[in-house]
């Protein structure tokens, strides 16, 4: 055997530095190319180098995800954007908030100083909410009759922001007109948040429990949730002046961590968007960021679920968590009291279980 070849054989096989050296050289070439402005880079050279890096590592390039999967995700993100909600991608967004002035919220006497502070943070462009712990840390409220209104002024180095925090204790504090409009709801629910009797036909019972104006909303939610195997809640109350709401858009998404339903109802003057996200686990609920120009919100108190409402001039957004499901309600053309009454009167379709 040729001695020269034998030596070459030994070197080429046992030289453990060889691949490392090649990768080092390639990384150096790549860094040189990437040091140029993007427009000036030779993308063919970049491809050549990175292909070699993959090849020398004996990596198998995975099969690309199907076009349908990508388009479904694109569609889901667009729908989320429709009500200016940023979910799931909060990690990217949170970097933007690093430069924002964080305001500490003073919480309500009811809950103690630090509880809400950990859940809701005001950022310069809106509210950031830790959904995963929202329901755990805020105690569900017993029915009470008092109303607490607190106005807090916080001051930082650059600006003074007034934060208005108001709790809504119960519907008994409403005016007489409101009390009248919510009557159908209160009669269907037990005082302590218990569940009505089980019906063989949940939709019929739901329609019976609900205000007439809520019928198209209830039907749409029932139909979509049934088709997607979801156990969700529906609003028993829609104000009379919103009668004639029609379903103008709806869709459902089966995502990695959740099943989502999207609805838009409108009667020409008023529009109501509803997003229902049923998560596999509470732990998977992301941080939600709700843009808001004002720092004005109401903390909902319900025997069954926790949530809050953010008020704007033209529109309002309610966000609440019921079990593993997040509900986002966005209204345009509705009064402030309307969204409060709608959001506070969601109940589950009863399917034989009264558990949340």
């Amino acid at each position: 055997m040729n001695k020269e070849w034998f030596n070459l054989k030994d070197i080429s096989i046992t030289d453990k530095l060889s691949d490392k050296n090649m990768l080092y050289d390639l990384q150096r070439l790549l860094d040189e190319e990437l040091a140029k402005p993007l427009e000036e880079r030779d993308l063919d050279a970049v491809k050549d180098i990175t292909d070699a890096i993959v090849g020398i590592n004996d990596e198998e390039i995975p099969k690309p995800v199907g076009a349908e999967g990508i388009l479904a995700e694109v569609s889901a993100r667009k729908k989320r954007g429709r009500i200016v909600q940023l979910r799931r991608w909060a990690a990217v967004i949170s970097a933007c908030f690093a430069v924002c002035i964080a305001l500490n919220f003073y919480t309500l006497r009811t809950y103690g100083y630090n509880v809400v502070e950990t859940l809701i943070k005001a950022v310069s462009s809106g509210f950031s909410v830790d959904l995963a712990h929202f329901d755990d840390q805020l105690p569900l409220s017993p029915a009470t009759t008092a109303t607490t209104a607190t106005t807090v002024t916080t001051e930082d180095m650059q600006s003074v922001t007034t934060v208005t925090v108001t709790t809504i204790k119960s519907q008994s504090t409403m005016g007489s007109t409101e009390a009248e409009t919510t009557e159908p709801i209160t009669t269907t629910r037990s005082a302590g948040g218990g569940t009505p009797s089980v019906s063989a036909d949940p939709l019929s019972e739901a329609l019976g429990n609900s205000a007439e104006a809520a019928e198209p909303v209830v039907r749409a939610i029932w139909e979509a949730s049934s088709q997607n195997g979801m156990e969700v809640c529906y609003p028993t109350y829609i104000p009379l002046d919103a009668e004639g709401l029609e379903l103008t858009d709806s869709s459902s998404e089966q995502l990695k961590d959740s099943k989502d339903l999207y609805f838009t109802f409108s009667n020409g003057e008023k529009t109501l968007d509803l997003i229902i996200e049923e998560y596999i686990s509470k732990d998977l609920m992301p941080e939600a960021v709700i843009p808001s120009d004002k720092m004005d919100y109401y903390l909902m108190e319900s025997a069954d679920y926790n949530g809050f409402i953010i008020f704007e001039d033209e529109s309002n957004t309610a966000l609440f968590v019921y079990g593993n499901t997040v509900y986002t309600l966005h209204t345009r053309g509705f009064d402030r009291s309307d969204i409060r009454d709608i959001a506070e009167n969601f109940v589950p379709f009863f399917t034989g279980s009264s558990e949340k």
Binding site: W5, L8, K9, S12, K16, K47, D48, I49, V65, I70
Partner: protein, 158 residues
Amino acid sequence: MIEPEHCTLIIEKYYNEIFSYCYAKLGYSHHSAEDCTQEVFVVFFSKHERLDETDNIRLWLYRAADNVIKAFVRKAPPPAVSLEDSPEAMNIADSGGFAENGDSPLDLLSSEERQLLELYYNSDYGQRNEAAKRLGLSLPALYRKIHKLKKKLRAAEK
């Protein structure tokens, strides 16, 4: 709305390239590269309506990949990878030596392949670069060939 066929064509054309790019920039992490690559295409199809047909899709994808990788690293910085410490990078090099037995597997190589091996082992970085050019190859292409030859020899040894 994009037609799925159009989407499929773009994915098929650029997926491997963007994966390789992400892989090289993410410390040779297969899973991180896969996640980022998918995100690049989701971002692209989310924003494609703003692109003009004359826009350079390839360049746009690279730019998107840079942004996605930055966000990814910010969210979960990959551990600092030294090539010496990276099992992924060193798997091949650590795959064993050559037993002293019988005929040389080098006999399997053509004379051209042997010359390539000689060239690689008898030259430094600058000389390899020059030699690759003389052979009409880029340095990465030369390295890929060398790597394949080494794999061929190892396979023959087994």
